[in-house]
C-alpha cells in the first residue's frame, strides 16, 4: 500500500494505492495547496481504510514544477515519513503525466512539455517499457526551439502538458508531423505518482527521507556579485 501526494502545479492531489483499488482526491487549487494537502491525505487514508502506519512507502511528485510547490510536497512527504518511520519514493511529475496519458488514452509514446516560465519548458520523452512509462532521455529545462525531435521512425507521439499550449507557435511547426494528439490540460496527479511508485517499490527504489531532494532542473536562480559586476557596462 502506497500513499502518494503532489503539489507541484496549480493542482493538489493525494492518493492511496491498495491492491483493492486507488483512492484519490484531485483539486485545482492555485495557492491553497498548503491548506488542503494534509486534510486530503486524511480523507484518502480514511476512504482506503488504511492508517499511515500501515502504508508501506510514501511517494511524492518530486518535480520538476513550481519550486515552492515541489518543496511543499517534499517537505510534507519528509514529515510524514519521519513520523511513521517510512521510506520515500520520489516520482517525476513529468513521468506521472506520461503515465496518465498511457492509462487514460493508451498513449505509448509521450512528449511532455510543462511551462517552466522564462521562455522555457520542462521537457521529457517517455515510452512504454515493461508495462509502464519510462524516460527515453534525461528530463531537462529547455527553450521550446531547442526541444529535441523524436527519432523519425516511430512518429506517433502524444504531446502532454501546458507547454504545448503556451509555446504552441514555437513547438508545432517542428513537431506537428510527429504528433497524433495533444493534451494541454493534463497536470501532475497523485494517482499516477502512486502507479509509478508501485513499480519503484517492487524494484526496491526507496530512499531515506533525509536524503531525498526535489528536482528543480533549473539550477541557476541568481547571479553572484562577480557575475553582476561583469554585466555592468
Amino acid at each position: 500500500m502506497i500513499l502518494a501526494l503532489d503539489t507541484s502545479s496549480e493542482a493538489c492531489s493525494a492518493a492511496v494505492w491498495t491492491p483493492n483499488g486507488c483512492f484519490s482526491r484531485f483539486e485545482l487549487t492555485p495557492k491553497a495547496h498548503t491548506q488542503l494537502i494534509l486534510p486530503m491525505i486524511e480523507q484518502v487514508l480514511l476512504e482506503a481504510n488504511v492508517t499511515l502506519q500501515q502504508i508501506e512507502a510514501i511517494a511524492f511528485g518530486c518535480g520538476p514544477g513550481a519550486f515552492t510547490g515541489v518543496r511543499i510536497a517534499t517537505g510534507v512527504a519528509q514529515g510524514l515519513a519521519l513520523a511513521a518511520d517510512k521510506r520515500l519514493i520520489p516520482v517525476s511529475t513529468l513521468a506521472a503525466m506520461a503515465q496518465q496519458a498511457y492509462q487514460t488514452q493508451q498513449a505509448e509514446q509521450v512528449l511532455v512539455a510543462l511551462d517552466a516560465r522564462m521562455g522555457e519548458v520542462y521537457w521529457g520523452s517517455y515510452g512504454l517499457i515493461d508495462g509502464r512509462m519510462q524516460p527515453l532521455m534525461a528530463e531537462c529545462v529547455i527553450a521550446p526551439n531547442d526541444a529535441p525531435l523524436p527519432p523519425a521512425v516511430a512518429s506517433s507521439w502524444v504531446g502532454v502538458g501546458n507547454g504545448w499550449r503556451q509555446y504552441e507557435a514555437l513547438l508545432m511547426p517542428r513537431f506537428v508531423n510527429y504528433l497524433t494528439d495533444i493534451q494541454t490540460d493534463c497536470l501532475p496527479n497523485a494517482t499516477y505518482v502512486a502507479q509509478l511508485a508501485v513499480y519503484a517499490y517492487q524494484q526496491g527504489e526507496l530512499i531515506d527521507p533525509a536524503l531525498v531532494e526535489p528536482v528543480y532542473l533549473r539550477n541557476k536562480v541568481a547571479l553572484t556579485t562577480l557575475e553582476r559586476t561583469a554585466l555592468k557596462p
Binding site: P39, V76, G79, L80, L82, A83, A222
Partner: protein
C-alpha cells in the same frame, strides 16, 4: 511537556528540543552564510533549497543529542513568520506534517516572539513584566511586555533596522558579507572621538529610531578620509558608538516611561559587546541571551512554542505561514 522547535525563517536552519520541566535539552544550527556569501546577500530560493536539505538531518541529530526519540516529543513548534515565504514554508511543511503524522499538537511561532523570549533560556531568566529591545537584521523595536504574548509597541525604526544599518555600512566600507559582526570587530581597533556621527531622533520625544542616515554619514566620512585601515576602524568605532548611544538613550526612555525594572535585549545586534556593556549601565536589570541565541536559532522557537502549547495552543492540520506578521497582532497565551 517536551517540544521540538524548527526555525527556517531566513538563512539558518535551527532545531532544538525544549522541556518545560528541564529547560533546553539540545539544539543544532546550520548557517547558510557561506552559501549566500558570493551573492552578497540572502537569495531566497537558495535559502529554501538548503532548508529542505538540512532540516531532517538536524532533527535526527538534535534528538540523538538529547537521547530522545520522536515518541518522547509532545508537541512541535515551527517559525510561521515573519520571514522569507519560501523558507518559512519549507519548515512549516515538514513540521506540520511531522506533528500530524505523530498525532501531536503543532504551533506556528512568531519569530520575533522567539527572539524576545530567548533570554528565558538562560539560568537567571527575567520575570514578566519587562521592557524588551528587539534589535535584529530586520527589526528594531522597543516593546512593553506585561505578560507572555502581550506586546505593546513603544517605538520602532522608521527606516533601516539596527542590524541592517550595521550590514549596509559594512558594505559601504568594503567589508565582506555579512558585514555587521565584522564592522563590530573592526570598531574594536578604532579610536574614540576622532569622528562623531549624529544620534538620530534622540532630540525628539518618543522611542522611535532612524538608522538610514547614519550610513550616509559614514560613507561621507570614509570618502573624505585618507582611507587607511586605521581610518576605517576609527569610522567603524564612531558608527558603532552612534548606534549604541541611540539604542541606550531610547531604552532609558522606555524604562522611565513604563516604570519596568527589567530590560530584555534580543536579536542579532544584541551580540554586540559595546551595546551589552552600555545597556548594563541603565537603571534596570538587563537580560541578554547567550551570544549564539542572539541570532536565529531553533532553541528560541522550541521555547516560545512550548510556552504556547503548555497554555493550550491548538491549530488545524493546515500548513500556514505569515511572511508579514506584526508582533503586536499576537494575543496573550
Amino acid at each position: 511537556m517536551i517540544t521540538l522547535g524548527i526555525e527556517t525563517s531566513c538563512d539558518e536552519s535551527g532545531v532544538a528540543v525544549y522541556s518545560t520541566k528541564q529547560g533546553l535539552l539540545s539544539h543544532q544550527l546550520f548557517s547558510q552564510i557561506k552559501l549566500h556569501a558570493e551573492y552578497g546577500g540572502v537569495v531566497p530560493e537558495l535559502a529554501s533549497r538548503d532548508h529542505i536539505r538540512r532540516v531532517l538531518p538536524l532533527i535526527k541529530q538534535t534528538l540523538k543529542e538529547a537521547d530522545l526519540t520522536l515518541a518522547d516529543i509532545d508537541g512541535i513548534a515551527y517559525t510561521a513568520g515573519p520571514g522569507l515565504i519560501g523558507a518559512l514554508m519549507t519548515g512549516a511543511s515538514i513540521a506540520r506534517s511531522l506533528a500530524w503524522g505523530l498525532n501531536i499538537p503543532a504551533v506556528g511561532v512568531h519569530h520575533m516572539e522567539g527572539h524576545l523570549l530567548a533570554p528565558l533560556l538562560e539560568p537567571n531568566p527575567p520575570q514578566f513584566p519587562f521592557v524588551a529591545l528587539l534589535v535584529s537584521g530586520g527589526h528594531t523595536m522597543l516593546v512593553d511586555v506585561p505578560r507572555l504574548g502581550e506586546y505593546h509597541l513603544l517605538g520602532e525604526s522608521v527606516d533601516d533596522a539596527a542590524g541592517e544599518a550595521f550590514d549596509k555600512t559594512a558594505k559601504l566600507l568594503g567589508l565582506d558579507y555579512p558585514g555587521g559582526p565584522l564592522l563590530a570587530k573592526l570598531a574594536l581597533q578604532g579610536r574614540s572621538g576622532l569622528y562623531r556621527f549624529p544620534r538620530p531622533m534622540t532630540d525628539r520625544p518618543g522611542c522611535d529610531f532612524s538608522f538610514s542616515g547614519l550610513k550616509t554619514s559614514t560613507l561621507t566620512a570614509w570618502q573624505n578620509s585618507t582611507q587607511t585601515e586605521q581610518d576605517k576602524a576609527d569610522i567603524a568605532r564612531a558608527f558603532e558608538e552612534a548606534v549604541v548611544d541611540t539604542l541606550t538613550i531610547k531604552c532609558r526612555r522606555a524604562i522611565e516611561q513604563t516604570g519596568r525594572k527589567q530590560l530584555v535585549v534580543a536579536g542579532g545586534v544584541g551580540a554586540n559587546q559595546r551595546l551589552r556593556a552600555q545597556l548594563a549601565t541603565l537603571p534596570a536589570q538587563v537580560f541578554f541571551p547567550r551570544l549564539e541565541f542572539c541570532t536565529d536559532n531553533g532553541a528560541m522557537i522550541a521555547l516560545a512554542g512550548a510556552l504556547r502549547l503548555a497554555a493550550g495552543a491548538m491549530e488545524p492540520p493546515i500548513i500556514q505561514v505569515r511572511p508579514r506578521w506584526p508582533l503586536m497582532e499576537l494575543s496573550a497565551a
